[in-house]
Amino acid sequence: MTQAASPPPRVGLFVTCLVDLFRPSVGFAAVKLMEDAGCVVDAPAAQTCCGQPAYNSGDREDTRDIAKSTIEAFEDFDYVVAPSGSCAGMLKKHYPGLFHGDAVWEPRAQAFSEKVHELISFLTDVLGVTQVPATASGKATYHDSCSGLRELGIHGQPRQLIASVKGLKLAEMADADVCCGFGGTFCVKYGEISNAIVEKKAANIAASGADMLLAGDLGCLMNMAGKLKRQGSGIEVRHVAEVLAGLTDQPPIGGK
């Protein structure tokens, strides 16, 4: 934690395009969690997308352009935080490599990447948050999104904070750490395979006995919610930040 005398950390919220467009309440939950932990948060207007769709489609040049404007928009903050392991992974692990050998941009991207964190691990690992005052009811199961888990090592942090939510029990599903089949454009380009993967995931979610599914990435959440709702499941799907912030007045992702 920062000492009382030092100024509060200034955090730039990289809200991510999916949260911006589809689920703003996740952005406000992120802001609330960080403000409650003593941060000053702003969301610079010049941000759009982290560039991952271009990067993973093999378009490095356009990715570099997007990366440059993202770096410029966020360079002045103490920290850059995204409510997504996938986008944070892109900013943190992949931006520097885009500028390999570039005398100006490589060090800039490196310095930027060192400030980047995924929301939940930022709360626990950087700000030292160990519990949240939120309350909820029922049983939740947590899906480990791939980039957060394998690129950023996010596994115990969300579970620790979920455990502190009064009235909420965590019911682990089988294969929580296996991909949900989203994979960005993969889910559309190879829709049938994506469907086969998310069907297995939906079966594991249902078998956990949970009445709520939580995860830290909106892409995965929309994919899993879409499958569960298509199957007629009543399981509520939410971004973990919504529950931790106690901001659950919006209907769940994909509705009830």
Partner: protein, 478 residues
């Protein structure tokens, strides 16, 4: 074998609707993953070994010419003969010459993916020589006229009852009322059939897991002991290995061996680790009279010094395949060539061309599980992305995807216009989402809504609401 990688999507469609295959693929998920995790956890130095193994192979790949020549010299010192082959055709030609010189009618074979790569069995049959696969899985798929669907478990796409039917169809010398319901009974029957074939074979062909430069030794690992019989009983032993299999010393091989079986099947070691160095010496009780090694390039040297060099560290343990959710869904044959799964998605474009294998590096969610378990720390997703870059540069990816991406980028690079458009669009889309907050149908989103609903946007974008909050704050301060 016919390359079907260009029709990956259609192959995948067929695989997803193949009930037998889907049943068999359950065995991949249940059979390998837990065992590998347990074995890795039980060995405190496992992660350190991965670093060492990577370093050994990186060093070799940086000095491949030196180690291959050192290996060649040692093989020849031991009385063996090394043949260099640049292409599959050259390797086949060398093998045929050796067969002809020895008037060979039948050859036994240990499991070797490299002989799949050079399509050796079809070639030998066309030349009047009968190849006999001796690995149980390979034997089964040879009976069926198929190709391996996995690099260490070639018949993993089959169920026990399918194998029983094949044995009843082919092994007509056994009583028809025999019991073949247990795997052990199938194994025992295959052994009885194969036993005589080992004695009848004129030549034994094996692959190699390692070639040892300091001793001229080749090493294979098997669980059935079939490799031993293949290489010691016939008069001639041919080892065929790709050039990246060489390591400097026996100690190096020993370190990597500690990773191999653990990563593959979760065993501490494979049941048999067989070393062979040259032909039978005067004092040896058994062994071949002739010992040949074919060192095959077939596209590997072109990978050296490129962004794909790291893939040459691969020791063919299959861990990436065993942990791949795409492989779990479609199996190995859908990939359309010899090497399936993540390593196939990287190697296949290198070896047969990205124009033919372009789907493979794209058919990945980049979940990263392959890289997480690869004992040689091969950055598989990164290399798949490199292939996507090559495809993008050459305009090989589909036009719809290109234009869709360009359209998106045009907005993403113009934050003001992006803001304005999304401010207007999302509330409208949110409204159409209705009371259910989701879409079952949506124009231009067929790829998504065919299989799942699309959650509706809440309404006004975050950035729009954030601007309001900022304005409110400023007003309050004023």
């Amino acid at each position: 074998m016919q390359i079907t990688s260009p029709t990956f999507k259609a192959n995948a469609h067929a695989a997803l609707h193949d009930a037998h295959l889907q049943r068999a693929l359950g065995n991949v998920r249940s059979g390998f993953i837990g065992k590998r995790a347990k074995a890795a956890k039980a060995l405190p130095e496992f992660e350190q070994l991965r670093d060492n193994a990577k370093a050994i192979k990186d060093h070799v790949l940086g000095h491949l010419d030196i180690y291959l020549e050192a290996y060649e010299k040692k093989v020849e010192d031991a009385g063996g003969k090394v043949h260099w082959a640049e292409s599959a055709a050259e390797a086949r030609g060398i093998i045929l010459d050796i067969c002809r010189m020895n008037n060979a009618r039948t050859v036994t074979k240990g499991k070797s993916m490299l002989t799949e790569e050079i399509e050796l069995n079809d070639f030998l049959e066309a030349s009047g020589i009968q190849p006999v696969e001796t690995d149980l899985g390979e034997y089964i798929i040879q009976l069926r006229g198929e190709h391996p669907s996995h690099i260490i478990a070639p018949a993993i796409h089959l169920n026990k009852d399918q194998v029983e039917q094949d044995f009843r169809r082919v092994h007509t010398e056994f009583p028809t009322d025999r019991d073949l319901t247990e795997p052990q009974q199938l194994l025992s029957e295959a052994r009885q059939v194969l036993r005589q074939k080992y004695f009848d074979a004129d030549i034994g062909i094996t692959g190699a897991n390692f070639l040892i430069a300091e001793t001229g030794t080749s090493i294979i690992v098997t669980n059935e002991g079939n490799g031993d019989l293949t290489q010691t009983l016939p008069r001639v032993h041919i080892v065929i290995a790709s050039i990246e299999k060489v390591v400097p010393t026996l100690d190096d091989a020993a370190q990597i061996l500690r990773l191999l079986a653990r990563s593959a099947t979760g065993q501490d070691m494979s049941v048999y680790t067989t070393l062979s160095t040259g032909p039978k010496r005067v004092s040896d009780p058994d062994g071949p009279d002739e010992y040949h090694v074919i060192l095959l390039d077939n596209g590997r040297s072109a990978m050296l010094g490129t962004e794909f060099q790291d893939a040459l560290r691969c020791i063919r343990c299959g861990a990436c395949i065993n942990h791949c959710p795409v492989y779990h869904s479609v199996g190995g044959h859908a990939y359309g060539w010899v090497y399936p799964g993540p390593i196939g998605a990287v190697l296949t474009p290198s070896l047969i061309g990205v124009d033919k294998a372009g789907h493979l590096p794209n058919a990945s969610t980049f979940c990263g599980r392959c890289e997480a378990v690869c004992p040689m720390r091969i950055p598989l997703p990164k290399m798949m992305r490199h292939w996507r870059e090559k495809e993008f540069e050459r305009g090989l990816n589909p036009a719809v995807a290109r234009y869709g991406l360009k359209f998106w980028l045009w907005f993403a690079k113009r934050p003001r216009l992006y803001r304005l458009t999304t401010y207007l669009a999302m509330p409208v889309m949110g409204l159409f989402g209705g009371r259910k907050r989701r879409f079952r149908f949506l124009p231009l989103a067929g790829g998504w809504v065919r299989h799942r609903d699309l959650p509706a946007p809440e309404g006004r974008t975050f950035m729009q609401q954030w601007r309001d909050r900022d304005t409110l704050k400023q007003d309050a301060h004023a």
